[in-house]
Symmetry: C2
């Protein structure tokens, strides 16, 4: 952006309208034009050919009739809701919501002892201080990028990982029970934005981009010296969910990805200027992609070539420019998404403020790290112009990329080898088709496209704006997930799907790749803590026990349930007692979930078949307090209840 | 239930399986059989005729293509999620989620000052004490029955009301902005279950059933004397959302409804035994419906014929048996749903534990209250046997009722006038069709069926179990909302819709009946509090102001935003300052929502076009803290951010 007047930040007063004096759409277009000019690129000279297809009915059948099953599981970020949504594809039906960073009364997430431990134990010291101010756990998070664990580049059905930009965390969901089981907050970081699991040989690491640059440590020093701010790239052990190491880098990190060999991760960087306001972030013509050499980082850590920062004991190695742990590849201004092709040959950095995508050949990275390549740009094998505002690219496994164009509100389908040929001077037009989407698309993903098994059936485009596509629901509108048939030559939109709270990203796996349990297994480690507590109280089998144990002013109520009854329907405590209710659902019939709600006590939880759940509260209001089953379980469900009698102190 | 052995509650130990020694489905059937025998009814002798139709494609087109709009708004309870879901019908797409009793990071519900006031101010003293223990507001609620405001028996598009069983509250949602604007907690109550707005002349009252019987007051007295427990029926002023009066009644209240004249409300009662455990609740053969004479209740309150209970100043009148304010109509054991026919002539109490529904002629209620009717059963004009486990009935406006059969997993379509004729001794079979649904249906509702405008197009059945109807998602399964075409003679299932957290109920209005604003109106009373605060700080127009004001250790940051910028991108405070950020989105373009997230501070909120939102927190961690826009607003959205600098104390 050359025109500073256009991007002046007015800190005092505004006229109440756009600071630019024209409408948002005009501004989008103006921005794009400026970016194109500003970036000074004219990588392609092709028309944006292929024609714009109108939305139409597809060739594949996307209608999944009553009682029919979907062919794919989709895992959607819940965006600012802080949860993960499990979808059926192609029906686009929401099959389940999994609480992650949010509080959820339906399952008792944030309320049960089991969930509170998961929400709390991985927090940094500052995170724990924050949580203490609101009852022990944080209350919100911003689920961003869901990604599945892999073995040898294929989904292995074990875990889903997702990051929280708002409070700098990463969570793991066990796919066998579809519950979050670990959360870690990344130290020395603000805003964990990009996150990807290692693809091969298995998901040993999660690679995490920490976006905002801050003083290191961020304890009040260097606040006025932005030039000293730094951010980090972090490696999290996917099995233990501990941060193994961090790498200091130059510039803001945006999105990240990994190769299919286990050697490299790569991150887009915007704001290579290290600026703290918008016009400063636009000063240069180019930003970069940082390539991380994982074996070298591990080696540096092993050799003790690291420091620690503040109250964190995570080893931090130096990967700023000039380090032999990293490679900085200059790319057009403001790259955003970064995507690895299913054949493992290339990664593609999406231009955002440039109309181009940059194709890098992964095998060439070895040359750089071995010293054979001097100019990192030599790893670039194509840089096609795909349209305005390219954000993310996905793949069909047939050699084509599908790039979302935020400003054009389109998806561009382009051929990778054709783009490479054109970059080498050929006259091939790599653009195969452009399709209008509605509107301002962000992430997209095709079926299995993040793995070597990309099958080119369905493309999901997550559009940020829906405007007039649905019945009006007030000032806050839904986003719009559009399902696109890519099974043959032409892309065709077959479904508009409104969504809440801006899902940032989604991944899609084949149904046979995900195999959840039907009911809980009593040997599940989920129950280890509560079993240990019970053992101290002399209880061997929670399924066989209905007992109230007093321990000073602590009362533990071990209770079972089977439809339509709790097997303790009355217990008595004293005002001020700390009460722990441990409830085991002994029904072993699929879908026969019970609940436990203590009326007017803000206490509730789910207990699915063969599950044990526990909750602790202070019985601080004298009187009769009914508890009841809130998951409809039986014709006499309304009658499934009991009383806690609290004697006045 | 005659066989006490079968329903013995084991308080000590169980064998880890069903206490009845047989499977759930066998138990459902056994329960039903017992209930049929136990209730001693043989109201009909017809076969359960009409044949069971297989699920099939419907006659009406339920496919809403990309870019097409739905014909109806659906308002769904979010069940234990504590929110309301706005759906498009017949596409069954979720258009929006409205936080009500839950916390929601996407909109900042439970986090912003505006939402925290709404969540807190209507709580009872005990509710406020509870809320104080978890940061000032309750953390969960259990949205049950959504119902729309009416004028003269038609939807007027002003409000949606919904109740919270878990914490005994009722909330109001403004349909112009689709935000919750009032919440009241009902005193002297545990578990507000049934809730309905008055239908005519307008929604002046919300009628609320408080389900569980408790000592009055519930302060530790009478705990061991269940015979003294009572519950109340409450009238809430729909405009002020204050509880105007309560009525003490006999038995547990379940569901409620109102006539189309403004004279009567009626509630089903189960557990007329006043028992506190399951077998006691099954002792009698019959329970009852309580009819409330609203003008007489108002008159009694006016005359001072009431008491108050505990710390509540709500007038409580006596409506127990023998009162002239109420009428107790005996009905078969355990009635559940209660539904008024669209022509206003009848209400129908659904048998649950009896295979019958009881049809009461509303005009006959006048006879009783005038003294002309001695036996309240004389108001019953039909009691057809519809199948096992009737829970709720809805209507097509063509004289037919559609009753969900929980145990049979069916919907029974039956003709009301045919049932009346049969009750009078005729040989007509009122049952027209039975349709299998999947599985265990609870609430159902047809388009506009709660109003005089019932149009008989679509029937929604909310099934409690989905079992094998969808891809498995672990031990917790979705529920299943099934869309049924009722536009012609035969019901046909056209869509299976999985849902999270057991939506209890849903209502459906025509699209033209709901007219939300496209963006916020600056004169909206939503902003009154924040405008008053700003005025004291000398600020006339929040849209024109970017200013930081210090007031002792309190700092108020008045800020505007327009894509892609906050117009204050740096402010400095001291460690320990209490900071209030007031943010006004000056963009006036539809769908251009901004957000404000303060990284690692667990603070986030939505600011839709022309909205102001505010949040208060303590700046208790020194250092640089980035705030950023979390609702994707622009190609340079990632760059939309600023810094709070917290100086070490």
């Amino acid at each position: 952006m050359k025109d500073d007047e256009k991007t002046t930040i007015r800190q005092e007063e505004t006229d109440g309208g756009s600071p630019f004096g024209f409408t948002r759409r005009e501004f989008f277009n103006a921005t794009a034009t400026s970016a194109v000019v500003g970036a000074g690129l004219a990588a392609g000279g092709w028309s944006l050919g292929g024609g714009t297809a109108q939305a139409a009915e597809g060739n594949q059948d996307f209608h999944v009739g009553p009682g029919e099953l979907d062919e794919y599981y989709g895992f959607w970020s819940g965006g600012q809701s802080g949860e993960v949504r499990v979808m059926g594809v192609p029906s686009m039906r929401e099959l389940m919501r999994i609480p992650v960073f949010n509080w959820d009364g339906a399952t008792g997430w944030g309320i049960t002892n089991e969930s509170r431990k998961i929400l709390r134990e991985g927090l940094t010291p500052a995170g724990k201080r924050r949580a203490d101010k609101q009852g022990g756990v944080l209350r919100n998070g911003d689920t961003h990028h869901p990604h599945l664990s892999m073995t040898d580049g294929s989904y292995d059905g074990r875990y889903l990982f997702i990051n929280d930009k708002a409070n700098s965390r990463v969570a793991r969901i066990r796919l066998d029970v579809m519950k979050t089981d670990k959360i870690v907050q990344i130290p020395n970081a603000q805003a964990v934005h990009g996150m990807r699991p290692q693809k091969a040989p298995k998901t040993g690491y999660l690679f995490c981009n920490c976006e905002f640059m801050i003083p290191q440590p961020n304890d009040g020093r260097d606040m006025e010296s932005p030039e000293k701010y730094k951010t980090v790239f972090a490696g999290v052990d996917a099995e233990t969910m501990e941060v193994k190491w961090q790498v200091l880098v130059d510039g803001n990190l945006d999105n990240t990805n990994a190769d299919f060999k286990g050697t490299y991760a790569f991150s887009t960087c915007y704001n290579s200027e290290n600026a703290v306001e918008l016009n400063g972030m636009m000063r240069k013509d180019r930003d970069h992609v940082v390539v991380f050499n994982i074996p070298r980082i591990e080696e540096a850590v092993k050799k003790g070539q690291y420091k620690t920062i503040g109250d964190s004991d995570v080893p931090v190695v130096d990967g700023t420019k000039g380090s032999d742990l990293t490679m900085y590849i200059p790319v057009p201004k403001g790259p955003h998404g970064i995507n690895t092709t299913p054949d493992g040959k290339y990664f593609i950095a999406n231009g955002k403020l440039s109309p181009t995508v940059t194709v890098v050949e992964i095998d060439k990275l070895d040359d750089y790290f071995k010293g054979g390549m001097k100019d990192p740009r030599d790893a670039v094998v194509a840089e096609p112009e795909v349209g305005l505002g390219p954000l993310h690219t996905t793949f069909d496994g047939r050699g084509n990329g599908y790039t979302t164009l935020f400003i054009d509100s389109q998806v561009a389908k382009w051929n990778i080898e054709d783009a490479i040929a054109a970059f080498q001077g050929g006259d091939t037009n790599p653009i195969k088709q452009k399709l209008d989407v509605h509107y301002q698309p962000g992430h997209n993903n095709a079926t299995l496209a993040e793995t070597k098994d990309a099958d080119g059936k369905w493309l999901m485009v997550l559009s940020k704006f829906s405007k007039d596509r649905f019945l009006n629901v007030g000032p806050l509108k839904p986003e719009n997930d559009q399902l696109i048939d890519i099974s043959d030559g032409d892309m065709r939109i077959v479904h508009d799907g409104p969504t809440f709270a801006e899902p940032h990203d989604a991944v899609i796996a084949r149904a046979d790749q995900i195999n959840p349990n039907k009911i809980w297994d009593r040997e599940d480690p989920w129950f280890d803590d509560v079993k240990a507590m019970a053992k101290k109280d002399g209880i061997d089998d929670l399924r066989m026990t209905n007992k109230v144990i007093r321990d000073g002013n602590k009362v533990r109520v071990y209770m079972t349930s089977s439809a339509p009854q709790y097997h303790i329907n009355e217990f008595k405590v004293k005002e001020g007692d700390e009460v722990t209710v441990v409830l085991t659902n002994v029904d072993n019939i699929e879908d026969l979930t019970h609940g436990f709600t203590l009326t007017n006590f803000d206490v509730c939880m789910e207990i699915s078949p063969q599950q044990t759940a526990s909750v602790t509260f202070v019985a601080d209001e004298p009187g009769v307090h009914w508890y009841y089953c809130q998951w409809f379980c039986h014709a006499m469900h309304m009658e499934m209840r009991g009383r806690m009698l609290v004697e006045k102190a």
